[in-house]
Amino acid sequence: MESILNGFIGAGRLILTFNPELLGIILLSVQVSGSALVIAALLGLPLGAALAWGRVPLRGLILSLMNTGMGLPPVVAGLLLYLFLSRSGPLGGLGLLYTPTAMVMVQAILVWPIVVSLSHAAIVRVDPVIRQAAVTLGATPFQAVITVIREAGYGIMAGVMAGLGRAMAEVGAVIIVGGNIAGYTRVMTTTIALETDKGDFELAIALGIILLLISFGINLGLRFCQRAGRVRSGIILWD
């Protein structure tokens, strides 16, 4: 009991004194997950939209693969990317294994299906009469597509937030391809795992608290998206 109490007291001290090691780990985590999210969104949103219009070859198969990918075990993704990036793998020459870039790649692989599936679902849910109305008012095909995507905006945002949540909470895959190197590839989740193993709870608890706060913030964002998607009165969304 005393060790837990001491752990929390130490954690509080680390947070309140803005411990440089703690801040470095948080910053790297945010950079890695943020970059992964941007890549997943850039690749995922157009695919989600294209799948929603139904003009993509093998649409059903791609959707099934994306839905399966949402439940892809992180360690499997980590293992696959490891095999590709390891010295004997096809991408071994790039020297990316045990770098933050590899961690971004594996998180992007994990987040991408979530962004595709949820943005597809959000766009499909938009009433078809919206697109017809846009066309009858003189929209070009591109403008009509943008109009529909805007209508699905909150649903798409919810997908992106869910992706961010998965990236931030991920541990297995980044340990495999990042190697958990102190000051280089050590992020919040991998540090928590390591420090717990060592029985040094101060840093682990401090990072746990920060991770929980970030997770809480993401959930608040998700909740806002879901509520706002159900229509809010009196706000101007397009300016």
Binding site: V129, A133, T136, G138, T140, R150, R232, S233, I236, L237
Partner: protein, 217 residues
């Protein structure tokens, strides 16, 4: 000078059933046509074809005596507007809903502001300009749809049951807006209504769709 619309022996089948059968008619600019006919007789199909949203199986749609192939020239399509039976309100303010047609045409912001406010006042929604369009009543939603159509000043205005399922008060407001439009612009207006008295009030010409064709009443 408005746009003339002519359909020449257009036919359309859905699920093996003929909806339009060699339907021909010429609609002149500056006139309002009230089109009647029972549900499912093909009025909405005719409107979708006339609005260049879908092609006929056979026959031709002509604007200004020129046959039009799909997809049509954007400039031509922007001179025609169809008010759908369901308005399709965008999840944004009433102002932005009405401004949509001008914004996608790249009109400057001061012009958009001025014209939207003008049209909103005309349809009696000026006091709701900042409200979300999805929070409007069904009558107000119809007026919003009409405002969106009117602001782009179409030369052919197709109104598919603009007063359906509305209370008498809102129906009268919509009717008045259409009558005002009739006197203020050189456009062809075709309005579908099931109400014969309303058809007489609105239409210069009364038409009926029967057996897949449009004929004068």
């Amino acid at each position: 000078m408005g746009l003339t619309l002519e359909v020449d022996r257009i036919s359309k089948r859905y699920n093996g059933q003929a909806v339009l059968r060699e339907c021909s008619f010429r609609f002149g600019s500056g006139r309002t046509y009230a089109l009647q006919g029972p549900n499912g007789v093909g009025k909405s199909t005719f409107f979708r074809i006339a609005a260049l949203l879908e092609p006929p199986d056979a026959g031709e749609v002509r604007y200004e005596d020129n046959g039009v192939a799909l997809p049509p020239d954007l400039h031509l399509r922007r001179r025609i507007t169809l008010l759908l039976p369901r308005t399709g309100v965008f999840n944004t303010s009433v102002f932005n809903n009405v401004a949509y047609g001008l914004k996608i045409r790249g009109r400057p912001a001061p012009e958009v502001e001025r014209r939207v406010n003008e049209v909103l006042d005309r349809v009696g929604l000026g006091h709701k300009r900042r409200q979300n369009g999805l929070d409007l009543s069904s009558g107000e939603t119809k007026r919003l749809g009409l405002a969106r159509a009117l602001i782009i000043d179409p030369e052919v205005l197709l109104l598919d049951e603009p007063t359906a399922n509305l209370d008498p008060e809102n129906a009268e407001i919509i009717e008045q807006i259409i009558l005002n439009r009739k006197t203020s612009a050189e456009s062809a207006i075709i309005v579908v209504t099931h109400d014969l008295a309303q058809a007489r009030r609105l239409g210069d010409d009364l038409l009926v769709m029967a057996d897949g064709r449009i004929v004068p009443l």
